[in-house]
Symmetry: none
DNA sequence: TATGAATGAGCCTTCATTCAT
DNA sequence: AATGAATGAAGGCTCATTCAT
């Protein structure tokens, strides 16, 4: 019984992702979601409190899935740089997938500035990302590969570079530049992590 | 005559900014904008083609104003680090102002993924920001302060760090952390620009 | 299920007829139609694509219903003059009904000058009316009662006289003159159909 | 002083005709009329009580002008058939002019079913048309060319045929058929006027 | 459990009209 | 005499939500 309900909820969340990716956070309607899920209009309201509830669950889901994937990928490697590569490969997985995911994620970020619940979900995502970065950084520090002194600070910097470059790539409107921005990310992060400067 | 019309348009754009900052890009109504501008409902449509036209002009305006301010601030300095400081001071001008501006800007970024016009306006902004960074970077390279090899790449990296940290700060929901993220930005950028690594 | 939807559509079309008859084609609002149908504001848009779609269906319906009634009436008679009488009786059925129908029809004619879709629907109506006239005329020619040589031409002439007199009657604003104009129609048509002139 | 005002009124009425011919009675706005007249938006309201007042004056004007033209044309002829030809030539003056005039006139007829003032203006027009027909008919009766017994009735029949055929022509949407419907009109009217039947 | 008909609030937009200049 | 800025009512339409089935 419960299982079937959970399946339905998954089906709706999945459809919501596709719908939001195609139409945008605000433009999407419950009707759209129902059509993508191939169910009737009333179903969303049956399994979720309201539209925002569907979308909040969508945000939870995509951020968790992304985290799981990234974590798994990173944990398969042993050296810091291999881990970093694996991480960046996981993040910049490909133009089509990134476009869909990041459009949706950016929509949520914009909403989150005015929506406490979304902000909390994102905080958990940030925290998860930081845990991955911490893994990599600690390895790099152990190895002596990395020079950064503050792990938390470095985590945030990595996150900034990833988000910043991903947004810039999206704004080009040119899928072909995906690999360029991926390389840019990797290079900037590596450069940052391995810098030896007077200021540090 | 013409001047008065331009004033009215400014009044509406200003009101639109306040309204969007408070309510969000999609949530804002022409009614809202009218109320913020203390004019009647029909005025926006009198001075602009439609709602999107108001908002597009808003995006143009805020990106241009920001650019002018940053440019002016940077041009008043002579050393690379002083210029960078001035730049970061201009960007992270203060929690209240940053919060209002960046909420609105993030809204536009999210819209821009599906709106060519917004993407173009943002491209001009990016290009302007890059010109400021280029100023700083060239000075730093002349001075020998900076070690980066590719100015364009470095510009993008600086932009990424600024956008990325600003978003992270917004997501904390905590205005008091503004100075923390500002310092983080400056430190990460400086570190990146002055790094001496094997990879470079 | 489907049947109930069709009933609702009928209900809305009927209400649209009453509303247009009372208020006029352009003056009528979806709100009006909803009120006449005793349903909520959104129903018209649920069952029809938009306002014009409701009205186009209304035009189709009234022209088809009128045609059916006229056809049935004419087919029950055997002599040409009896058929013509039946036809005119069907057309000039009574002041109240004629007033409602013809006000609406005249509204549509005026719209049709700028609306291809309405013109097409009216073309079908014209064609149907012509088929009735052809029935009558062929009978009259067989009988030797009528003298006209060109059936198609005569059909159009009959249609002209009916429309022309109906408009003139409407323009009097005097319901009591209905029978006068009806007689005028019959007399003019009969006279035309049975004329023996040098020119023919 | 008075003269200049009258000129302005004429200018506006002329513009209103063009605007209504192009856009339709209901679609036309005071802004449209102002633009066609190359004056400012407020002028219509300065010289006329309101929008309907402009349009009522337009109806008066076009019906009077048409009447004058037709009357003049008919009065230049001496035989009944020549007068009738002149009349029909005046009415079916050409596809372009007829289309513009009759679209507008049909719009007014549709409005007139719900507008007493328009109905009165049209009644005057009808009466004027009847006076022309009476001229022709009396001449034809004097000559012995026409056989009709009731002049008033015949006038109305002529009007019916003209309006009816003009509408049918408009509904074809085919300007090239103008001459066909013109001939049809003339032939039907002649046939009616010269018929010798048992019923008369 | 699931449907989808129905509701009605609320949005953007248009436009006649007013009125200060 | 003329302008055109400003108003605000009103309409078409969309859509989240409710609810009877």
């Amino acid at each position: 019984m419960k299982q079937k309900a959970e399946l339905r909820r998954q089906q709706i969340i999945k459809a919501a992702f596709e719908a939001v990716a195609d139409k945008g956070y605000e433009a999407v309607t419950l009707q759209d979601i129902a059509e993508y899920a191939d169910v009737s209009k009333g179903v969303s309201n049956y399994y979720f409190k309201n539209k925002e509830d569907v979308l909040a669950h969508l945000l939870i889901q995509i951020t968790e899935r992304i985290y799981e994937k990234e974590k798994t990928a990173v944990e398969m490697e042993s050296s810091a740089q291999a881990m970093l590569h694996a991480y960046i490969d996981s993040v910049f997985v490909g133009p089509l997938e990134n476009e869909r995911f990041f459009k949706v994620y950016l929509d949520f970020l914009a909403q989150a500035t005015r929506n406490e619940r979304y902000r909390e979900i994102n905080a958990r995502f940030y925290s998860n990302c930081a845990s991955i970065c911490t893994l990599i950084l600690n390895r790099g520090l152990d190895e002596g590969t990395y020079t950064v002194t503050d792990v938390e600070e470095a985590s945030k910097t990595i996150r900034s570079l990833i988000d910043g470059f991903m947004i810039q790539w999206l704004m080009t409107g040119d899928r072909d530049q995906h690999s360029t921005y991926k390389k840019l990310s990797l290079s900037a992060i590596t450069s940052y992590l391995t810098s030896r400067t007077a200021s540090q």
